[in-house]
Each structure stands twice: as C-alpha cells, then as structure tokens.
Amino acid sequence: MNKRIKNLLVLLILVKRDYALQFAGSLLGILWILIQSLSLIFIYTFVFFVLNKASNLPSSNLDYSSYIFSGLLFWIPLQEMLIRGVSILTENRQLIKRSTLGVDLFLWIPFIQMLIHSFVISIPVFVVLAWVGSLNYQLFYLSYFMMIAVGLYLMLVLSYLARINILLKDISPIIRLFSQFLFWTLPVLYFPTGILKEVNQYNPLIVPIDLFRFIVLKDYSLQFPFFIFLIPLVFFIIIFCLTRFKLDEVVMDHL
C-alpha cells in the first residue's frame, strides 16, 4: 500500500483512539461534541441577541442570529483545534517515542477532529439558517473547503506551538488566554464597526471569517479587503519554515 495512504489510515485510527480516550466510559460518547458545541452556540446567540436588541446596535439587512450562528460555526472548531493541537505531542509522547511514523502525523489528529466537529455542527446550523432564509444556497457547501483551508493555515503555526510546548513544559494556559484575545478581536458576536473594526484588521483570522460568512450567508457583503490577509499568511509560512529548519533537533530529546 502506498505509504501516504497507509499513514492516512493510521491517522484516522489515531483520531478514533483520541475520541475513545476522551469519551472512555461516557454513555453519550462522541455525541457530547455536538451537545457541547450546539449549547454554546445557542447560549451565545440568545445572550447577544437580547443585548443587541436592547442597545440598538447598527442595523443590518442580516438576521442577527444567523450572523452569530455562522461566526460560531467558524470559530468553535478552530478554537478546539488550536487548544488541543498545542498539547497533542506531549500527551502522546510515549506513543511517539515508539513509533516510526514521525511526529508530524500526530499533529494532524486535531486537524481531522476539527473537520469532523465542523461538519457535525454545520448540519443543524445550516438547517436553521435555511429555515430562517439566511442560507446562501449557491455557495454554502464551499464552507467545508474553506474550513480545510483555514485549518491548514493554522497548522502552519500549530506545528511550532506544539513543539515549543515540549520545550516549555506546558503553554496551554497561555494558548487558552491567547484564543480568548483572538475570539474577542474577531467579529464573531458583534458587527465590525468603528474602533472595533480597526482592531479586527489585525486579527489573523479576520479575512477567513469574513469570507466564510460571505459563502454561508445570503446578502452578506465582505467587510475587509483580501490583501490584509497576506501579511499574517506570509508570517505564518515563515514560522512554519523556521520550525522545520532546526527546532526538531533540540525539541525531540526533551519529549
């Protein structure tokens, strides 16, 4: 069997193992992912819908709840991937040390899980969006390709973070904090206006979320120019290249 196909098969089995460990002994098992994510989406939508209505935030042609739905559908799987991915090597250190498959294969576990989560959550979300008449029927299916692309984009930096997590023992608390900064500087729950819009431009995920909404939501117009995405993209590619250059030589002995 081709080595790449064999590795892909092993990767899918590692993903299954990871779920088996996460939900070992749980009655609902993997269903928890759907329950957790949907609960979060509905709580955010309810709270911010009430707040928005009370404070008369800028008006839009868009249904506000659809706006939040699409934002959270984008954000939640990516945040999970970021947080899980940082500790994936340290958590599987004993397995990695005995494996001839290499470190990189393990890094793809959170990526595949992100795609699965994204797909699972998207079904009820798209049903709701279709029901309220906000779904962009012509393009919404492209959102799956979009998530693959954004996942790959984050993998550029995740391969670095997962490795330095070995060296610095545990950077998960910092990454959780950092993900909160990313979240609140991204217009997931609010419209990008005024000073917030200025801040939003510096978020490396701003153009991806803008494009994602454009694909998913009917009548959504792009809020940010594409070229501002090129700076973080180049920056992430440089981080990836530097990670591949010398870091493994130092890091792997500390695993």
Binding site: K97, R98, L101, L168, V250
Partner: protein
C-alpha cells in the same frame, strides 16, 4: 541491515528557564548552552541474521544509540543507513492506555508500532495466546499487573518478524517460562534473517544469545568482538573506574566531631561500581573535636527503594573504640564481600555510643555514598542477597 558511520549525537540542555524560552523563540537556532556528547563518532554495521549485544555503564550512550537508530532522536553528524522494516522495543508496557482494554491497546499501539490494519487483525489472537492473556482481552489495562502489561507489550512488539529489531532493556520479561519463550523468539527471528541489537544489563543472558558484543564507554565504542572478550573488557572498564576522591565533610555542627571522610574501595581504588561478591573496604577517617569515652562506628546500606539491605557497627563486631582524646584522628575500616544482588544502593553511617544511636548519637548521616552492584561473572540468581552456593552430587546406578 544497519550501517552507522561516524555518528555523533549531542544532547542540548538549558542552564535556566530563560534559555529554554530563548531557544523556543529562536526556533532552536540559539540552543541551550549545556551540551553533552552522548555518542561520539560511532561506526557500526549489523548484518541480517546477527544479534549484537551492547553493554556499558549507565550514561555510556546505549539507550541513546537505540533511540537514534529507531529514528526517535536526531543526531548532529555522521550518517546511518538501514534497510527493511524496523521495530523497537523500549520500556515495554509504557504507551498503553489504562482506560482501554487489552485488545484496544493492541490495536491502536500495534498500528503506531508499524503493523498494518490487516496484520493486527490477523495477529491479535496469537499475540494474546503468546502472552498467556487470552482471558483478559476485554479487560481494561488498569486491571492488569505490571508483569501482564510487559508480556502483552513484548508479544505485540514481536508478533511478526521485522527486518531490524532494536531492544532496550527488555530482553527477558515475565516469569521464567515466558523468558524462555521470549529468548526462543529472538533466536527464531535471527535464524529467519533479522538484524537484532539488544541493550541490556543482564550480561550473562546477553553473552549467551549475542553473536557479537559492543562495549560502549562515554559515547565511544571501546570494544567490538566476541562476547567473552567484550565482558572482560567491560569488567576492566569497571575496575579502572575510580573516583577522584573520597566523600569529605568539614565544619560539622557536632560538639564531638570536627570532620570526616568516607571511602568505598576495592583493590585499593575508590569506586562507584562493584561486582557481586567483590571484597570492598569502607574506610572512615574521623577527626574528634571533644573527648569521647566510647565510640561506635556503624554503617547501613539501603537499596533504590529505600529498603535496608544491611547494617552493622563496631559494637556488634566487638571492635569498639574507647577513651578517644580531643584532636585525635581515627582511621577505621570495614572489610566485607559485596554479597548483595545487582542494583543501585546508597550508604549511610552513624557515630554513637553503645549498641545503637538512641543512647547517645554523635553524628548520623544517610545517603552519603551512592554505588552500584553489577552481576559480572556471577550466575543468575533470585533475591536480594548473594550466597556463594556450590554443588556437590553423587549418582548411584
């Protein structure tokens, strides 16, 4: 087949947390300032159908070599070439997840260790059969004993024949019957053409199954050749291994003792590794600060788990010292054969009056000296003590 040429491996360490951060932020371009050469210009070739045993003191580079050859660890310079499928057996049982059943662990770990899905499906039955754990397939691993986990690990790692097999301290696991099965499996792999490298402290067993043995010392190959000669070389290295000096302590907060030094030696050389049965001398040098009417000098040896292996004193041996004047220096030696099992030990001592330290204690020190005991030429035995047993028999027809 494995061919290693001028392979050098250095470990990079850090003097402070700031160095770690700097290394992380500079993508490893600025490494830590601590560096240790674990392997130095190693040249090695292992051919199909050959078992190579590697021996050496702790820190000699044995495990590092296995890690580099298995691809887990990177190396700085040199090259190595390997042909064929590779499997490494390191710390059996580690890597299994306690929450998953034996069968699930075999499935998931097997795939990571290089088996294909089909192979695992076909081999699962024989893996459990070989390990004698067929009745425990569906039991979570947290309910396995350590020995059961080791057996399962070994059975999984050797379920089919790899072209190259690297073994680190997992030569003989489980009970005597399982050990026999394990050794037979190594022999079978060898006959079928596997190249096998084994690192072990079990010198006799290694000598028995190896075609060739390599002695590593401070990251370099000191000897490569016949197992019997390799053992001789290793024993010589241990014999040559002497401390720079004995343990000394001055300015002790004791009314009676000003200073002391303590030395553990054999053949007039201070050492940290001894062979089982080797006659050693434990020498004390004690300077008295105030007059002591009756002095008992005692020592105790504890094993790595902190269990007392042996202890005695000059009172029990009826060699007590009387009426010592202030300013006097005593030199006192205990001479005894190291008749204890192989392993790591530490030595402490006590200076007191009478039978034990509860009456009047002048000085008590634990963990003063660390040392190791190696089996060397002594036959394998069980238990914490070594009895130099000899056999005698008659046969009447």
């Amino acid at each position: 087949m494995i061919r290693v040429q001028n392979l050098t491996k250095k470990y990079i360490g850090f003097k402070s947390p700031y160095e770690r951060i700097l290394t992380a932020l500079t993508f490893g371009i600025i490494p830590g300032s601590r560096s240790y050469t674990a392997l130095n210009e190693i040249n090695l070739e292992v051919n199909p159908g050959e078992i190579i045993g590697i021996i050496g003191r702790n820190g000699a580079g044995k495990s590092t070599l296995i890690k580099v050859l298995s691809g887990v660890s990177k190396y700085q310079s040199g090259s190595f070439e390997r042909k064929g499928s590779l499997r490494s057996i390191l710390e059996l049982g580690v890597g299994f997840n306690p929450e998953l059943s034996g069968e699930e662990n075999v499935y998931y770990n097997g795939l990571v260790w290089g088996y294909s899905v089909e192979e695992i499906g076909e081999l699962t039955g024989s893996i459990f059969e070989f390990s004698g754990l067929s009745d425990f397939k569906n039991v979570p691993l947290k309910n396995y004993s350590t020995g059961m986990m080791m057996r399962l690990g070994f059975s999984l790692a050797t379920a089919n024949r790899p072209d190259i097999l690297l073994v680190d301290e997992a030569l003989a696991v489980g009970d005597a019957s399982f050990q026999q099965k394990s050794l037979s499996r190594f022999q079978q792999f060898k006959e079928e053409g596997s190249a096998i490298i084994i690192v072990s402290h079990d010198l006799n067993l290694l000598q028995m199954i190896s075609d060739r043995m390599i002695v590593l010392e401070k990251g370099k190959i000191e000897f490569s050749g016949s197992p019997a000669l390799a053992l001789k070389k290793y024993i010589q290295i241990l014999a040559d291994n002497s401390f720079e000096e004995s343990i000394k302590e001055k300015n002790i907060s004791s009314t009676y003792i000003e200073s002391y030094s303590i030395q553990l030696s054999s053949s007039n050389a201070s050492k940290s590794i001894f062979g089982i049965g080797e006659v050693v001398t434990l020498k004390f040098s004690i300077k008295i600060k105030a007059a002591i009417p009756d002095l008992t000098i005692g020592f105790h040896i504890d094993d790595a788990k902190g269990l007392r292996v042996y202890g005695t004193n000059s009172y029990h041996l009826k060699k007590n010292l009387k009426n010592l004047k202030a300013g006097a220096t005593i030199e006192y030696s205990f001479i005894f054969p190291m008749n204890i099992s192989h392993g790591k030990y530490n030595l402490g001592f006590a200076l007191h009056e009478g039978d034990n330290h509860t009456t009047k204690c002048y000085l008590w020190k634990d963990d003063v000296l660390d040392f190791e005991v190696e089996r060397l030429g002594v036959s394998k035995f069980d238990g914490p003590v070594f009895l130099p047993v000899e056999c005698d028999w008659k046969i009447k027809d």
